[in-house]
């Protein structure tokens, strides 16, 4: 088995940093949203599972931030906590609140949205990691191998919830369908590689956006068919903004102010 020759990338360039910021910021904010569910998940076993998944996801974000730190982009903690929302490159879908209320008191979080957002995102992340295993940036390829092994369990988890709730009928089905609609309205942002997508492909950092999108469809199609759900490419949109360009919602500002509260109190402190 011989692989086609690929030119390795060994220095910093805008397409590479852009890709790393997207990967890091996506995982970081979704892991944060996941952590807000702690103690509120539908049952105790799910609380254990979801918090474990969020912990893994935060670990993945830390690895991607580490790659940026290695390029002199700044310290990992600063990259995670110290950047303003306009500097963030995560997809808007991943920053949206879990539902009305606050996790400390009046949370009325939407489990259907949690299942759909996580399942659709994790499948997209899995496809990216599979592609990144052949990245021209070797340290990223190595991280992708590691992330991928953990994703296997995440995907299995969310797929199980998805199929069971979709097949449950009644209120479950109607809430799931509403969550699918809400998720797809911003899923275009998740599948986007941003303004430098073309350069990323040309440099062999990751495959082209369109190929990855089609692969997502290919993986999801049999699952959608099995639960009698129709999803078409025309449904993908960026209703609430293009996060890859630094466009974000008030949800992200609120999240950043909460999650960076301790860090901002004394950025030089060692915890």
């Amino acid at each position: 088995m011989s692989k086609p020759e690929r030119k390795l990338i060994d220095e910093i360039n805008p397409a590479l940093t852009s890709l790393l910021y997207q990967l890091a910021d996506d995982d970081f904010i979704l892991a944060y949203r996941g952590s807000e569910w702690l103690g509120l998940a539908p049952h105790i076993e799910e609380d254990v599972a979801f918090s474990s998944i969020s912990q893994d996801t935060m670990g993945h974000a830390a690895m991607f931030y580490q790659l940026l730190q290695d390029f002199g982009e700044g310290d990992v903690d600063h990259l995670a906590h110290g950047r303003k929302s306009s500097e963030r490159k995560n997809a808007v879908l991943l920053e949206m609140v879990n539902g009305p209320g606050h996790y400390l008191s009046t949370a009325q979080y939407d489990w259907a949205f949690a299942v759909i957002r996580n399942y659709f995102y994790i499948q997209s992340k899995k496809i990216r990691m599979d592609s990144l295993k052949n990245s021209s940036y070797q340290p990223l390829a190595e991280v992708a191998v590691k992330v991928n092994m953990e994703l296997y369990y995440h995907l299995l988890h969310w797929k199980t919830w998805f199929v069971q709730l979709m097949e449950a009928g009644g209120e479950a089905r109607s809430r799931m369908e509403a969550a699918v609609k809400k998720t797809l309205a911003d899923f275009g942002g998740v599948l986007s590689l941003g303004p430098l997508a073309k350069e990323m492909g040309e440099q062999g950092l990751i495959e082209e956006e369109e190929i990855l999108k089609q692969r997502w469809f290919l993986m999801m199609k049999p699952i959608f068919e099995s639960v009698n759900l129709t999803v078409s490419e025309a449904d993908f949109a960026m209703k609430n903004g293009n996060g890859r360009k630094g466009e974000h919602t008030a949800d992200l500002d609120a999240a950043l102010s909460t999650l960076s509260e301790v860090y901002s109190a004394d950025p030089a402190a060692s915890w």
């Binding site: 254990v48 474990s52 830390a62 191998v145 092994m149 953990e150 296997y152």
Partner: protein, 159 residues
């Protein structure tokens, strides 16, 4: 020197499973010990594992205690990735002593895996929760001796 360093690393236990050393967990990828210098490169089991910093500190402390190294360097690396088949035979026994099922050696093509109960050895077990109290463990139940138990999750590059 290498023997001294290895003996020191054998004393570093998993902070959450104190019967097994990081050597038997298969976390030590590179150990370079010279006259006064030692470099250790470790593979994290799961990336989000909060024990990693503690492990790094404990490795440094044990190597310092050995009294022969002036320069000690401990790093985490990602390549090759840690996989559950890196746990040694001794490590598998030590996990069982702690009440944790060692990771299954084989995963079938359908993704199924079987875990023996660490208490009675029965294969008549069921999965309660793929995710457990730490990133690397699952929660299972033994239908033979009716004990709940934990087992290390298999992780492989085949996944």
């Amino acid at each position: 020197m290498a023997e001294t360093a290895l003996a020191a690393l054998q004393k570093v236990k998993d902070p959450e499973i104190d019967s097994i050393s990081i050597v038997d967990l298969g976390m030590v990828e590179i150990l370079e010990a010279e006259v006064r210098e030692v470099t250790v490169k470790l593979l994290p089991t799961f990336m989000g594992c909060p024990a990693l910093d503690i492990i790094r500190k404990n490795v440094e402390a044990e190597l310092r205690k050995a009294g022969v190294f002036e320069r000690i360097e401990v790093q985490f690396i990602h390549h090759p990735p840690w996989t559950s088949d890196r746990v040694t035979e001794k490590g598998r026994k030590q996990l069982k002593e702690f009440g944790i099922g060692p990771p299954p050696k084989r995963i079938s093509e359908t993704g199924e895996w079987h875990v023996e109960c660490p208490f009675c050895g029965s294969a008549y077990t069921t999965m309660d929760n793929l995710f457990g109290p730490t990133a690397c463990r699952s929660i299972l139940y033994c239908k033979a001796c009716r004990n709940p138990f934990e087992a290390m999750k298999p992780v492989s590059t085949m996944m």
